[in-house]
């Protein structure tokens, strides 16, 4: 295996950081300090880590309600993400959004969209703005395979290819739309074929293998960034180890199926791969895990001391309160 040790450790660190962040979320959900819907990414970490390795600071990311990892990897701090879950004013959305609606304008992280498929047209528009203004930025749009059944998926595919827009559509296929398996919801389960039917070049990759995802994403993003090439569709086959949300008794799948996928866990297999290649020893692993633990403990401590927003401010932020937008008609963000 040819991989730089430092890079390997960085990828492992990111996957473990996401995992630990979400384990902490479960802990504080159980303690009643995080409420609402909480959708965990556990099991799918290799997808976001592999893809986001190639995202540029000025690229845009549009994600779903299962977006803690993507937010973290786009540069939102663990403390501001954890604070958002705790519903405090220090949260990245001032506590107005919660787990499903993480946002950061300076990081060009556009949510956190809990309408399945709802983010795809927006990604088309963000890319359109870049193309019309002659910028070489890329918009990454994450969605699950469930979104493929929505009309907005098909409209967005068509528009992006028709107008040759720089969007990387990242389909995180974990087989289940809530509890409905793809075999029970799609007449054609080959998602690559669906994208290709719109003329969008597409590929499928093992979403449990961070290096495979990274390699596929690298060439996909390079292609999308090259002027005039238009969008690309990348299907990452993955699996969610936890329930859909905290309210899901998982009646629709067997423990054996989950266990089988866990054997292919992205962290487990990557650690083994690195160990076998002498790129990671026991001490290094312990040290890395400790750094992860400290960072998330710090985020939790920060969130715990956060302040609830003043109730008098309830009606704020429904309309823009920021400074006047610049330009003849205003509006650069």
């Amino acid at each position: 295996m040819k991989i730089d040790k430092q890079r390997a450790h960085a990828l492992l660190y990111q996957m473990k950081l996401i995992r630990r962040l979400e384990e902490a979320c479960v802990e504080y959900y159980s303690a009643g300090m995080i409420r609402g819907f909480l959708h965990l990414y556990i099991g799918q970490e290799a997808v976001a880590v592999g893809i986001m390795e190639h995202v540029r600071e000025d690229d845009a990311v549009v994600a779903t309600y299962r977006e803690h990892a993507h937010a973290l990897l786009k540069g939102l701090s663990a403390p501001c993400i954890m604070s958002e879950m705790f519903g405090t004013v220090e949260g990245c959305s001032r506590g107005r959004g919660g787990s499903m609606h993480l946002f950061s304008a300076p990081h060009r992280f556009f949510g956190g969209n809990a309408i399945v498929g709802g983010g795809l047209p927006m990604a088309v528009g963000l890319a359109m703005a870049d193309k019309m203004q002659g910028r070489d930025r890329v918009t990454l749009c994450f969605f699950g395979e469930g979104a493929v059944a929505e009309g907005e998926f098909h409209e967005a595919m068509n528009l992006a290819e028709l107008w040759k827009l720089p969007v990387l559509f990242c389909c995180e296929n974990n087989s289940y739309a809530m509890g409905t398996h793809i075999e029970r919801s799609e007449s054609v389960t080959n998602l690559v074929k669906k994208a290709e039917s719109y003329g969008v070049p597409a590929a499928r990759v093992d979403g449990m293998d961070v290096l495979a995802v990274s390699a596929a994403a690298k060439s996909a993003i390079e292609r999308v960034r090259s002027e005039g090439w238009g969008p690309y569709f990348l299907e990452c086959q993955t699996y969610r180890f936890r329930a859909h949300s905290m309210f899901d008794p998982e009646l629709y799948r067997s423990k054996a199926e989950v266990d089988k996928w866990k054997q292919r866990g992205p962290i487990l297999t990557f650690v083994k791969k690195l160990t076998d290649a002498d790129l990671l020893n026991g001490d290094e692993f312990v040290e890395l895990a400790e750094r992860v633990r400290i960072e998330i403990a710090g985020a939790v401590a920060y969130a715990k001391t956060g302040a609830p927003e003043a109730v008098e401010d309830l009606r704020r932020h429904v309309y823009w309160e920021g400074p006047p937008l610049p330009g003849p008609a205003g509006g650069v963000q």
Binding site: S93, F110, N113
Partner: protein, 328 residues
């Protein structure tokens, strides 16, 4: 002061053209806006001046291109999305209500969505039940949106630029029956405010409160009432969200009687909201129960006589006004 006579359609086109000349980030996208010239002819010939990127024909994907408009606005453009009719906007309802209206708040005030969506609304052209409804009152229910209903030539021309300067999503409802109407536009006319209602006819006996396509019918009713010795004041709301409470309460405080005229359906409509506000804020000013003239609660029928019967007409407005006066 000199003025030019023009159609409502020309006024909207002029507003778009001026905005696009002034700010290169402004562009129009919608179904048949370019080569066809716009379903109502509003964008006719603009593609010759601005090219197909800025006057952009879209596929029949209302949700897709409305969402793309939101994304483009977030990306620094100033899109004008044209939706052919309000009935078709229901295919984009998710993007308008779940995304455009929520993003500023849901992000804790970080994201402005400076998007303008124009669409035709209203009946009167025998287009039946899937091209004729007046659903602007529905949209006015939603916090995060602004809802404009230009009824006059100066507003058709002036509201668009003001809407483009607004950092929030603004929906402009153009009553399809108005496109061919003509009026004067002062040569020095500019942008207009979009948060104040306007008294378009002064009166002292009864207030007729209306907007959009029923303004001209209300003015016609006021003229007929004058013939009967009744002085009616006509208030053009201009904006349904925000609603100009002060102007509503002020005209009711002056005349002590009110008739609300709305081409939307009666139940749960914007007329009900206006009545509620009058009840809350001017109850003791009232000398008579508030009257409403709305569209009959049927999907708009095709046959001409049936469509006319379904819609608010000047005669019904006159009768409603007289009912408010019968006691005193």
């Amino acid at each position: 002061m000199s003025a030019t006579t023009m159609s409502y359609r020309d006024a909207v086109r002029m507003a778009i053209q001026e905005a696009m000349r002034r700010d290169e980030r402004v562009f129009v996208m919608g179904e048949d806006v370019a080569l066809y010239g716009g379903p109502y002819g509003v964008t006719k010939d603009l593609v010759k001046e601005f090219g197909p990127d800025r006057i952009r024909d879209t596929p029949l994907s209302e949700s897709g291109f409305t969402g793309a408009g939101i994304g483009a606005a977030l990306g620094g453009m100033r899109p004008i999305v044209e939706i052919m009719t309000v009935n078709f906007s229901l295919l984009a309802l998710d993007q308008i209500v779940n995304t455009a209206a929520t993003f500023c708040h849901m992000s804790g005030g970080q994201l402005a969505v400076p998007l303008v969506i124009r669409m035709a609304t209203g009946a009167g052209r025998q287009l039946a039940a899937q091209h004729s409804h007046s659903l602007e009152g529905w949209y006015a229910h939603v916090p995060g949106l602004k809802i404009l209903t230009p009824a006059t030539i100066p507003d058709a021309r002036g509201m668009l630029w003001t809407a483009l300067m607004d950092p929030n999503p603004v929906l402009i409802f153009e009553h399809a029956g108005l496109y061919n109407t003509k009026g004067e536009l002062a040569d020095d006319a500019g942008a207009v405010n979009i948060n104040k209602a306007k008294v378009v006819r002064e009166g002292s006996d009864v207030s007729i409160i209306t907007y959009g396509g029923t303004l001209s019918k209300s003015l016609e009713a006021a003229e007929r009432l004058a013939g009967s010795g009744i002085s009616a004041e006509v208030l053009d709301l201009r904006s349904l969200r925000p609603l100009d409470n002060d102007s509503i309460l002020s005209t009711v405080g002056k005349t002590h009687r009110a008739v609300i005229v709305d081409e939307g359906w009666r139940s749960g409509g914007i007329s009900a909201e206006i009545m509620a506000r009058i009840t809350e804020g001017a109850f003791y000013e009232l000398d008579a129960p508030v009257e409403r003239v709305c569209t009959a609660e049927v999907p708009i029928p095709y046959a001409h006589h049936m469509e006319l019967a379904a819609l608010p007409q000047p005669e019904a407005i006159v009768l409603a006004a007289k009912r408010t006066l019968k006691g005193g």
